[in-house]
Amino acid sequence: MKKTTLLACCLLIAFTVFSQEKKRKASTYNKKKQEKGDVKFLEKQWWLGVKAGANWSKVNVMDRYSVISPTNYELTSISKKYDNFGLAGSQASLEVSFYFKGFLLSFQPTYQHTRFSYTTHYEWTSSEEENDRVELDYYQEQKIDYAVFPLIIKYDIAGNKVRPYVQAGIYSAMRLNATKALSTSGVDYAAGGENEFKTETIDVGVDDLFAKYHWGLLGGVGVNYNFKNHVRLNLDVMYKLGMSNITSTENRYGSDRLAGVGDAMDDMKLDNLSVSLGCLFPLRFLQSSLQTLDR
């Protein structure tokens, strides 16, 4: 149902964008033939560019899971606490865009390094003896590399030299690599004092714990600055809204190392905010003046 609605929205957007030419034909009717040809030529442009930047992730939990199954307390008391937008990742994109009368259809294959973390806290206490108490904390950082394939429609809002735009689209992400760094710390009050302990961080390869593919919607804003040689400097802010589970439900308990310490991945969708800086190069020129659309 969700996908059908999305497809309908895509159709609506696409037909709106691609039918622009027809509506504007009347306004260019009285221009000279050559000028008309140039303008028509300049109405279309291909752009090729690269950009890179940082990103921050947010987890939207769908269903919670835990290896630890409490027998005398609520599962919610040991639920994972996610540090949303707390860790910066990075990304690098290749951009291929086709400009047509204010709209750009853009394909931006991206290598995205995503990071997010969560903590779990456990406590064992005694009602008889106050010092019979142990606290245990697990800190887990996920590092996932994705190949992201976004299909985006951009619209140049205004301007000539400085051209702000809005964008919306859809993406699919393919997991390339995933690791977890796990560290344990705690306090043992029963030892006769506050015996703080901490283990060395262990890194575990967890490719199978994450879904091979997921998809989502994206939206954002950006601005292009046109240099005299027609190269564009691009600042792009994009928010990706995850629409499918990034966890592999089949392999949830697949890592003995992590299951052994009570960890199982929640079902979750991943949102991602990225900021990128890059440059774009036009691929079509008027022969006489190397003029692009940016006059």
């Binding site: 691609f18 630890i68 199954s69 005398n72 009602s127 997921h214 998809w215």
Partner: protein
Amino acid sequence: MKHYIHAILFCFAAAGLTSCSEEENPQFDKDTFTKIYDNNKFNSSNFAIDMRQTPDGGFLILGGRIIPDDSIYTGIYLMKVDEFGNFVREIEVDGTSVNPVASLATFQTKYYFVCTDRSSLQAQVASVDANLEAVTITPVQGGLSYPAAASFIDNNFVVVGYNNVDRLTTMSIVSPEGGVLAYKGFMIEPGDAVEQPIMDHFVRTGRKFPFAVGKAPNGMYYFNGFYNYTFSLVFTDMVADDPNGVVQGSLNDGGFSAITPISGNKFAAARFNFGDNYLMPNREIPTSGISSSSKLGGYSLPEMVANAKVRIVRATVDQKNILIYGTDTKSKQIGLLYYNESTGEFINSRYLGFSNPFEIVSMTQTEDEGLAVCGMTQVAGRFGRITVFKISKEQLQQDVAALMP
């Protein structure tokens, strides 16, 4: 027209992108899971003894618990978990009944096990329904003391116990209602030397011996326990006063750690000998006369802890009959070793657990042709907690396919 084609292409591309998501199926969470059952009380300490699958796909776990103010005997603990391995409910049976022993048996709609009356130290038969609504305790009529192991065979319990008055290992056939249908006593020794390790076993202050009881395919009953000074595998027809066959160990230091009948005189077995362990899948074991377990050979596995606990399950995986040995490894994992049942040939292995130490308690093949392994772990390295691993049918098939394509 061209632009409409562009629009349609765009839509197809978008549809293609949205189709890229992984299959989700709640069945996955039933097929495979790892669960650790935690109590946040500092002094809580339960341990598992046996596990059975219930008709709803969940599991019933028989366990023991520390009874406050009772430093000698352990109480009875029962836990129900659902088909996803999630905790459902638990019962701590009152301290008048203690020392539950494996195995947990299913008969008609109830689950049965044998335990001990705290004051008389006589055996009792306990029953409980699959949802742990109520536990019923019935005393065994006829003075059967210190039950050490039980098996449910031909709708009756076969119980091996210890008679501390006459220093006998006892073997009884007990009905689910508590009636003793047959009884035999087998001499251990007249002196005190053997009694101390046996009592240490019962009060859990010393080594746990792998007491076991069962019935061989040739109709002979057997028990794994003390006989004539040594820990031995003893065969009896429950008619003659003397054993029909004895496979002797080496006092307390050698003997069988697990035994499961296959066919005729063939057994899947494991033995210990002064700390070493030997696995004997598909081995002919004499059920008459006197022989020695140390001459039976077997595969020696240095990775196993000294005098390791061993559990054996006969399983059918992908229409192949295999033996699964579960044991404790020196790396504090539960090791599963797969053998071809008909040839005894090694197939593959799998190791469960990491980070925290894990020990095996019980294994059972599940209705969905997977494997459930019940064990113990030490959460935070100090709190003993019951754990259950569920291995899916597909994972077992992959394991077995290694050498049995």
